[in-house]
Point group: C2
DNA sequence: CCGGCTATCGGAAACGTTTACGTAAATAAA
DNA sequence: TTTATTTACGTAAACGTTTCCGATAGCCGG
């Protein structure tokens, strides 16, 4: 069975292609009776408009591109959930691209998307990204861009994040209040906005409580989780005075648990831990992990909503703005005081 | 800066559109010198072909659609990873659609995709899906379909799954060997292939070890996780003789942990648990969870590869075949014997 | 010198829509 | 009555590619 198209319907109905097209779009230029006839036949033959012909003609694809480092990070999985929800509500489709935190891949993806395959882009930048020329050129191509979670403030556009600074501050303060004297901070690339902001919160919380800042207690993680556990073990061994750890990303919190298991450190008696995480099952950890939990779904939903608004209004470059959704500190046993 | 297209390049170079197009496709019909000139200008002007014009003309979109129940299930996140990898290697794009286990949504998505937006579809069917007419009609629309994980054998096409039956058998046997006398099975919809197969493994393992089958020990979970925990609690309360639980899906394993916490049942002393799960962090659970771990990434990768092969060869309907990748039982403390 | 071949290019149709424009009839305004 | 205006439809151009036909020129064998 060949695809049924407008020409098909038009011939069958004795109408012109134009009229059929208009009827299906509920145009006021076609009589109610004709509309009904057209709709009936379209339904009967299961007519589906060719998305590409439509996109080509209208110069819009009803599709947004989502470019993220990885989908196995639960934060991004939840965010995609929110994005898909917003997109579906507006009748948009979602293309997914993974950068695997590789700059070259991110640049290639963005470059390709300038071909017009998407009407807008949601991006969480790769940790390896330094140069942002590929992002700047999006403005020229008339493709709106909205950052979420991992942003670059050099580009003037909308950004949706959580309150990274305050969360870093709160996490550190929480450890201080629990009696920790030497608090380490495990983070990913400091060039990343989230790493930087959370770290600043860590620093300011220490200062506010009159604690010295010790650069040796800051560890930048790698892509490789195995390696991270090694690095954490080394850190804990070389600095046995560490009694608190703020892991600003989920895998580093998990890595810390493993390292502590290896070294026989007890949580929370010897070391207290608070980590960013969106896994529901952290409450089943041994011990349950105190977390900074991000509103991941809402971040995705909100970012998509802002992008879609811009797309619908054909505003290629949207005003520089920051939308901040608050994370929540959920206290569990990994930071219990007794 | 307006979009640069073939016409632009052609005018600038004093060539025809046809020649420029052919040059960029490395056709043998254009001289090496001209190819070089064209490529140089294209690179300089950052020419990106319009994907929609190309798709319309060639009648292929270089895009595959992935239709899954949810992305927050870690299995699917890993599978997407594999799918994206295979797609990228072949120069394909990935559209994601979530059904949220809702039949109506699945049907609507499939119907829409028949418009030609994708060259092929990877599907893991929703638990609510009974009727499969929408899937059968895909064959008419010339769109190849490959199932992964949650399959429907009524449709003759390729299926990529894990060895659900054997895994159910192994899990149950493992509990029996650990000394469990009354083993409950928690599953999702029995109409689903995976639920059915895993359950059959459970039944056969019981029979093979001369244990009676007690229907009261089988619990079908719901979409709502809160409710599931309630149901599990009720089950454990009404049948205090239960000393082993086989959870054939991750959330039910997690739900069981929560229920046991509520009821003060000790794992593994009072109840031993084995569950399907792909979370790396189950090793941090209290106690670490014995799991059946699926090769989720490989399942996605393999399914995508099979689909892409069919797409490239323009084989709309592919031969009925089952590819089975083995899961692995990873023994941890939740089924320890002492 | 002629016919056939190859190499290299251009013209134009086609993919299926959308839409600017035109037109005929019907209706309203004068 | 005549003249606008509205209603309902058709014609055809356009979106940017790809590709089917040529067409021209050069070359070679006969």
């Amino acid at each position: 069975m060949k695809n049924v198209n407008l020409k098909h319907l038009a011939e069958e109905l004795g109408l012109s292609i134009a009229t059929v097209s208009r009827a299906l779009q509920d145009s006021h230029e076609v009589s109610a009776a004709t509309k009904e006839r057209v709709r009936a036949l379209a339904a009967e033959l299961r007519y589906e408009p060719n998305a590409y012909a439509s996109s080509l003609r209208r110069n819009q694809s009803k599709t947004i591109g989502v470019v993220i480092p990885k989908v196995t990070n639960h934060f991004f999985a939840l965010a995609i959930n929110g994005i898909e929800e917003a997109a579906r509500q507006s009748g948009y489709h979602v293309l997914i691209y993974l950068t695997h935190d590789d700059y070259a891949r991110e640049a290639a993806i963005i470059q390709h998307l300038k071909g017009g395959r998407v009407d807008g882009i949601l991006l969480s930048v790769a940790s390896g990204t330094e140069d942002i020329a590929h992002l700047e050129s999006l403005q020229d191509a008339n493709i709106p861009l909205v950052f979420f979670d991992r942003v670059r403030t050099e580009i003037a556009t909308a950004r949706v994040t959580t309150n990274d600074y305050e969360s870093g501050y709160r996490a550190t303060e929480h450890l201080l209040e629990a009696g920790c004297q030497h608090i380490a901070h495990l983070l990913i690339s400091n060039s990343l906005s989230i790493g930087h902001n959370r770290h600043q919160g860590y620093l300011d919380a220490l200062a506010a409580h009159g604690r010295p800042y010790d650069p040796d207690l800051v560890l930048a993680g790698t892509i490789d989780n195995q390696r991270n556990v090694q690095l954490i073990e080394e850190l804990l061994r070389s600095r046995p005075d560490i009694d608190g750890i703020f892991a600003s990303v989920e895998r580093l919190a998990v890595g810390t648990y493993h390292a502590c298991q290896q070294l026989g450190r007890r949580i929370p008696e010897d070391i207290k831990i608070v980590g960013f995480s969106n896994l529901e099952s952290v409450s089943l950890f041994d011990p349950p992990l105190t977390t900074i939990t991000q509103p991941a779904h809402d971040i995705g939903y909100e970012a998509a909503r802002i992008l879609l608004q811009a797309v619908e209004k054909k505003r290629a470059v949207l005003p520089s703005q920051s939308v901040v959704l608050d994370s929540e500190l959920v206290q569990r046993r990994s930071t219990a005081t007794e």
